[in-house]
Symmetry: C2
Subunit: 325 residues, 2 copies
């Protein structure tokens, strides 16, 4: 049934969260009330900024696991474990960034086959620590276990976000423009060899966007650009048109890689149409990266479609889209 | 070099934590400042209750991973996956309890070989959810990944604790009595078959003890009774005498199983000698369980020793104790 179906099924078993959970399973990170919170959070989550008058912060929680020969392959090259450590943390930082937040504390679990040396595990840690330093994250705990065959790294990252900066997948409105940072397909073109990945989470850009107050929804592009737009559509109950000629492609990437490649950590977001000019003129300075408008939000009944240069609609490939239309 | 040596080595790589980290790697759970905290936390952690005048809460983070054929074996029996789910959450609840705190939110990662059915994973979740209900915990996220051979469950559990209730391993003083809840060796006697485990974390008892203000140090007994006392000794820079005749044994457990068995979630703690009478008379009512004094805290130079009925000192077996003396 695939990862997405399983998550939905398990979510149903878990049932409705309590009032202290602002947003449970289903976004890039969970959002919960922090221990010292005084504000009342509405039971049903709504992006109603006016309800959050205090400078109160919410707690963010995300977790991601990488398994050898499933998510990465090792080649016995010295630098690769450091690169793997970087990637393991980067995917989690990207999840926190996609909520408009800042990462704070991490716990790290490493499952290592018996033939792994302590030196090898230290390399993994060094990769994580270089990103920790850059993004001001503290590793505060973890667990090291034996793993029968494959190396695995499981990270849980906490973060915090001011209530007025919280961004989710669910606020896109008909008429909004769909925008992205950076370019797409590069990691797919590099055949997902993580040693050649661009693994720089767009934390600075996401924070800058969150502070503008313009952004209506935000997600990272880890599952591919089209999939990311689809997730915004599902959460926001809208449709979308992606103008495929406007999708920024990485140097060696073809269109399929740019649209569906994934394993990238760019930002995909929506802003009201009337903010587009301001976004175009100020975004570079605000976020430090190139921002491109790649499409528009349309009514849900119109589904998710790609539009080519001739204006002809193309139904996106990949399973799952049929259910949506 | 073993798990404990590895943790120490990796802790050194991670380096000194920032001010927002009250207690990093090395206790049952990490303790950090929560997002809305206003109080200044001293850089070097000290149990100085007077510095914490507000009713402010700290955030607790713990993580534990169970790997098939390393931490548990499966026998293809229907109820066992539910029991495994219970155990996976229970070990983490016990870590939060050992800090004097209350568990709040969990994220769950399951790594499953391809032949696992969704039904099997649902049983795992049902085990976790039965404990979630009992202990008022919300599962707010997770990750489900393919695992090449073994089933694995990795849980990160958050908790919160009022600053004045925080208990660590490091406050034991010479002259304190060493006390325990429950009895020991039962799970070792059951040959670590988790379907027959007692997996009831002592959350109620730990909270009651934390609120008395008497307890100087607390740890759970997951690594075995003697090991737990040793960890208190190391963290508190003291020695200990364990009166082995006073150690409460589970029905079928022999002395070795009771002293070294582990995989149990009782509480091991210290209280000042002058509080012992009050503890004995009030503890049952406060904590709902039997409390037994099993030894005393002595100067560090005297090391950790077991004392038998004849008053003869026995050096505890197992590696690691030599380094301590």
């Amino acid at each position: 049934m695939g990862e997405f179906g399983l998550i939905e099924r398990l979510s149903r078993i878990i049932g409705s969260p309590s009032k202290s959970v602002v947003l449970g399973i289903g976004d890039d990170a969970a959002v919960v009330q922090s221990p010292n919170s005084k504000a009342q959070i509405p039971n049903k989550f709504q992006i109603s900024k006016s309800k959050f008058k205090t400078k109160e912060k919410l707690l963010l929680i995300t977790t991601d696991t990488l398994v050898e020969n499933v998510h990465f392959k090792l080649h016995g090259i010295p630098r690769e474990l450091k690169a793997l450590g970087e990637k393991a943390l980067a995917v989690n930082i990207s999840d926190i960034a996609a909520m408009g937040g800042l990462p704070t504390f991490a716990v790290v679990t490493i499952g290592a086959p018996q033939n792994y040396s302590v030196k090898a595990l230290e390399h993994l840690y060094q990769g994580m620590l270089s990103l920790c330093k850059e993004y001001n994250i503290q590793i505060v705990g973890g667990d090291t276990v034996a793993s029968p065959r494959a190396l695995l790294i499981s990270l849980t990252l906490l973060g915090e976000v001011e209530k007025e900066c919280l961004l989710t997948r669910s606020g896109a409105k008909v008429g909004d423009a769909i925008a992205v940072t950076g370019s797409f397909g590069g990691n797919a073109a590099a055949k997902f060899d993580f040693r050649r990945y661009k693994i720089k989470p767009c934390l600075k850009a996401a924070r800058a966007l969150a502070k503008t107050g313009w952004v209506t929804s935000l997600i990272d592009s880890s599952d591919g650009l089209v999939r990311s737009v689809l997730e915004i559509c599902k959460a926001s109950k809208v449709g979308a048109r992606i103008w495929q000629a406007e999708v920024p492609r990485s140097p060696r990437a073809n269109l399929t890689q740019a649209l569906y490649g994934g394993e990238e950590y760019e930002l995909v977001f929506t802003v009201p149409g009337k903010k587009v000019d301001q976004l175009k003129s100020e975004a570079g300075k605000l976020t430090g990266c190139h921002i491109q408008i790649i499409g528009e939000v349309v009514p849900r009944s119109m589904g998710l479609r790609l539009v080519n240069r001739q204006g002809k609609r193309i139904i996106p490939r990949q399973a799952g889209y049929e259910h949506f239309r």
